[in-house]
């Protein structure tokens, strides 16, 4: 018999106690990312668990502290990022989108694309929730990588804009760009699978020439996880090609996507 799936919010206590694992934990975290009430409640419950911790406090052996201090001197710290958790970036993108929709004359955003834009936000948010962005409101440790912080920074940028376009080979590409950071975050959905030894290669193309901007990771359930491209300059386009082997210095095929970054 199948276990009924519990309603996520009510798992807040079990989550605060680290008593749910795997899929349940992931599902609660996805819910948490969109539920301010849960985050508020969790905050309070964490104070209760801190009390439980203090109730069993015991001095660690001095050697443990000595070893820790010595190790810290050799351990790089994570750089500071915009403190908003990644999920909030998506809300901000939502809000930004709401601001642009009435704004006229943006060549890359004709009216019929609004729906696609909305969908793109949804799937970007899903990409984040599925762990493509390994940051969360819960300060996940150990999984955070430098690129994730850079990605979070772009997504959190006050000037972040979201662009989306069809890929001629099939599928959709979505870009969140920050002019301030001169960087963009790129993801796709529904690109055709490639034969072995061939890769999707991202490019920045423009007055400064064509620059390779990374190879797309293998898709997971049809979506590629977020990649970041930096050094975006005025007049650039984002291009996507299929290349025989990475890392390509020069493109060998016609782009299957050309997306103008000019507003």
């Amino acid at each position: 018999m199948r276990r009924p799936r519990p309603e996520p919010h009510s798992l807040v206590g079990a989550y605060a106690l680290d008593a749910i694992t795997g899929a349940d934990r992931a599902r609660f975290e996805r819910h948490l990312a969109t539920c301010q009430a849960c985050a508020g409640e969790l905050r309070g419950l964490r104070e209760a668990t801190a009390g439980l911790a203090e109730a069993v406090a015991a001095s660690p052996p001095a050697e443990v502290i000595d070893r820790t201090l010595a190790a810290s001197a050799r351990t790089r710290q994570l750089p500071a990022v915009d403190r908003a958790p990644a999920w909030r970036a998506f809300l901000r993108v939502h809000r930004a989108r709401a601001r642009w929709v009435p704004a006229p004359k943006r060549a890359w955003r004709p009216a019929p694309r609004r729906l696609a834009l909305g969908l793109a936000v949804v799937f970007l948010a899903a990409a984040a929730a599925s762990g493509a962005v390994a940051l969360s409101a819960e300060h996940h440790l150990g999984t955070a990588r430098l690129s994730d912080h850079a990605i979070a920074e772009v997504l959190n940028a006050p000037d972040a804009v979201l662009l989306t376009s069809r890929v001629t080979a099939g599928g959709t590409a979505t870009v969140v760009m920050s002019r301030r950071d001169r960087a963009l975050v790129f993801t796709t959905a529904g690109l055709p699978a490639l034969s072995a030894g061939r890769y999707y290669q991202l490019w920045l193309m423009g007055p400064a020439g064509d620059r390779p901007a990374g190879v797309l990771p293998a898709p997971d359930r049809g979506m590629t996880s977020l990649v970041i491209a930096t050094g975006v300059t005025a007049g650039d386009w984002v291009g996507l090609t299929v290349e025989p082997a990475p890392p390509a210095r020069h493109r060998t095929s016609k782009p299957i996507l050309m997306l103008s970054l000019a507003a």
Binding site: R3, P6, S10, L11, V12, G13, A14, A16, L17, D18, A19, I20, T21, R43, G44, L45, R46, E47, A48, T49, A50, G51, L52, A53, E54, A55, V56, A57, A58, S59, P60, P61, A62, E63, V64, I65, R67, T68, L69, A71, S72, A73, T75, R76, Q77, L78, P79, A80, V81, R83, A137, E138, H139, L141, G142, A144
Partner: protein, 196 residues
């Protein structure tokens, strides 16, 4: 015990002061301040060590996990958000997560099932060896104000490192019941401990 950083001052405002200090110290750690990190270890190290020791048990692993947790605090200090809960909650959350991850990857089922029965005893025994803390007696009094099912659900999860599913099996009650008791128990505990 190291004499790094100021010692906590007994008295009514001590709890408040101690937590406020820890927040400021973690802010300094985020800027790479080694002395501040030493003070954080002095201030929060015993809560970390206590949680890890209680959950992990195996003495050969406790020190290693404790060190990992404190290094996490060093590495991730810039991620601490003062507006989102106390520094102690942030640190102990890291400690607990690491501790349960360790026990879950190490021992499965049999040994842990055996331990469950003796768990409450072990918890008492652990607290006897603890250094004097202002909060300890209050927490224990608050724990006693929970219903027995709330208390068992909360302590088996927090101190025993058991999952909701395991606790439901151990206590022979539905998972949904354990889930509800955990939440209600923590809410009651939070309210009993009061704003800090």
């Amino acid at each position: 015990m190291r004499e790094a950083g100021p010692r906590q001052v007994p008295g009514t405002a001590a709890g408040q002061t101690r937590h406020a200090d820890l927040e400021a110290l973690i802010g300094a750690v985020a800027r790479g301040d080694q002395a501040a990190f030493e003070a954080v270890c002095a201030r929060a190290g015993s809560a970390v060590f206590g949680v890890v020791r209680t959950v992990v048990r195996d003495p050969s692993q406790v020190e290693e996990v404790c060190q990992e947790v404190l290094l996490d605090v060093w590495r991730a200090a810039s991620r601490f958000e003062p507006g989102k809960g106390s520094a102690m909650a942030w640190v102990t959350t890291i400690a607990h997560r690491r501790a349960v991850d360790r026990v879950r990857s190490e021992h499965r089922s049999a040994e842990r099932q055996l331990r469950a029965a003796s768990h409450q005893v072990a918890y008492d025994e652990v607290t006897e060896t603890v250094e004097t803390r202002l909060d300890r007696e209050r927490v224990r009094r608050c724990l006693r104000s929970l219903t027995s099912l709330q208390r068992e659900s909360v302590t088996l999860a927090y101190y025993g490192g058991y999952t909701m599913r395991e606790i439901a099996a151990l206590l022979a009650v539905p998972e949904g019941t354990v889930k509800t008791r955990m939440r209600d128990g923590l809410i009651r505990l939070r309210d009993c401990l009061g704003a800090r």
